[in-house]
Symmetry: C2
C-alpha cells in the first residue's frame, strides 16, 4: 500500500533545526549535525549526483525512503527559506540548482501563486495555494503506486499530522542536544492528535531510526 511518509532527523531534545536560522545558515546553530549521518551515505550522495559514501545500515534506510517515494510535498520555507511574494524572494529558485535531488514531482505549499518549474533530472516544482489537503491529493495522484514523501519543515509536518493525513513517521534520532531551535513537536493542547503504533527501532552507530504508524 502506498503511504504518506515523513522522514526527519531530530536531536535528542526534539529539535529539527538549531537556534538562529538564517539564509546563510538555514539549519541554525549546530543544526548541520542532524544531517551528518545521511550526508555520509552512498544513497544520499547518489541521489545528489555524487560518488562514494558509506554503504551501511544508514544508507540502506536512506535508499529505501528515496526509492519508495514517487512525489514530495514541502513547505515554502523548505523550498526557498523565504516568505511573501516570489518577486521579493532572493532564493526563489530554491537551494538545489539545476538538478535537484528529488527526481520526481514536488508540490510546494505557498500563499503565492506561481507557474510550475521543470528542472533537470525529473524534478518538477508545482506551487499549491489551496491548502495541505490539495497538495497531498496532487502528490498522491502524481506518485502512482509509490509513496508520497513529506519533505518538511516542522510546521507543515505538524499540520499534516494533526489533520491525520500522514501514515508513517520516521524519526532519525541524533545523539546531540541542540538546546533550542525549531521543535519537531510544538504544543497542540486540545487538538485531536492521532494514535500511533510503534513499527520499528533500528540502531546504527550514528543514529537511532524510529518508525511509527498512524492508526487510521
Amino acid at each position: 500500500m502506498a503511504l504518506f511518509t515523513f522522514d526527519i532527523s531530530v536531536s535528542l531534545d526534539g529539535f529539527v533545526a538549531g537556534p538562529d536560522p538564517s539564509m546563510e545558515d538555514p539549519l541554525g546553530k549546530g543544526g548541520e549535525q542532524l544531517h551528518d549521518w545521511v550526508l555520509a551515505t552512498k544513497a544520499w550522495r547518489e541521489s545528489h549526483g555524487r560518488e562514494g559514501g558509506e554503504d551501511n545500515a544508514d544508507s540502506e534506510i536512506a535508499a529505501r525512503s528515496i526509492a519508495d517515494a514517487g512525489a514530495t510535498v514541502m513547505g515554502r520555507k523548505m523550498f526557498s527559506g523565504g516568505e511573501g511574494p516570489w518577486e521579493g524572494d532572493p532564493n526563489s529558485d530554491a537551494w538545489w540548482g539545476d538538478e535537484p535531488p528529488f527526481h520526481h514531482p514536488v508540490f510546494v505549499l505557498t500563499h503565492h501563486a506561481r507557474e510550475p518549474v521543470a528542472k533537470d533530472g525529473g524534478t518538477t516544482f508545482t506551487f499549491v495555494t489551496d491548502g495541505i489537503e490539495s497538495a497531498f491529493e496532487q502528490a498522491r495522484a502524481a506518485a502512482g503506486d509509490k509513496n508520497v514523501a513529506l519533505g518538511g519543515g516542522a510546521s507543515v509536518a505538524q499540520q499534516y499530522l494533526v489533520a491525520g493525513l500522514l501514515d508513517e513517521l520516521r524519526l532519525h534520532v541524533v545523539p546531540v542536544l541542540l538546546g533550542g531551535g525549531t521543535r519537531l513537536f510544538e504544543n497542540h493542547v486540545g487538538s485531536d492528535l492521532p494514535r500511533l503504533e510503534q513499527a520499528a527501532a533500528i540502531e546504527s552507530p550514528a543514529v537511532t531510526h524510529l518508525t511509527y504508524r498512524v492508526v487510521k
Copy 2:
C-alpha cells in the same frame, strides 16, 4: 563503575507529564499512559510489594535499573507535588505510604529544611537544602559501589544534565502524542550542554528504550 543515571518515560513528542497536572492527577491529562509499560512489569510490581506482572524485556530493563541503584535523588515536586514550607504541604508524607518502593536512601531537593524520615523497607528520606551538587554527593556516598538514580522531575533532571553531573540518560519512548505538558527538554540556548554518545536502542512491543552516555 558506579553511574549517575536517569530513567524516564517520555512521549514521542517529548513530554514526561501531560497538560494540567494537579494533586489528583499528578501526571496530567493522558500522562498515565507513559507508565503503563512499567506498571505492567513483574520487576516494578515486586519493588512495590505486589505479585504478578509480565516477565518480559521491559521487566528485565526495569529490574536492572532497580537492582543497580543504591540511592535516589529527587526534586520536591516529585516527592510530594507541593512547594513552600512543609507545614502547608497537604502531601508532606509523599505518595508512597509506609513502605515506599525505593528500599534505599533517597535525597530530596528542597528549599525548606526538614528532619530525615525513615520508612519501612529500607527507604529513608533525607532533605537537602544546599543544592544539586550536595544532594548528588550525599547520594553518591550512600550508594557505595551501586548507581545513583535520579528520580526526577524534568526540571531537576535538566539542572543535573546542564551541570554535567549525569552519566547516563535512559529514555523509555512511549508511542503516544500528549500534545502538551511538562517537557523533558526545555530550551537551554546558550548553555554549555554536554555531548552524548548513543549506547543502546532496545525495541520492545510497548516502548523503545534508548540509552545515552554523557561524554566526560
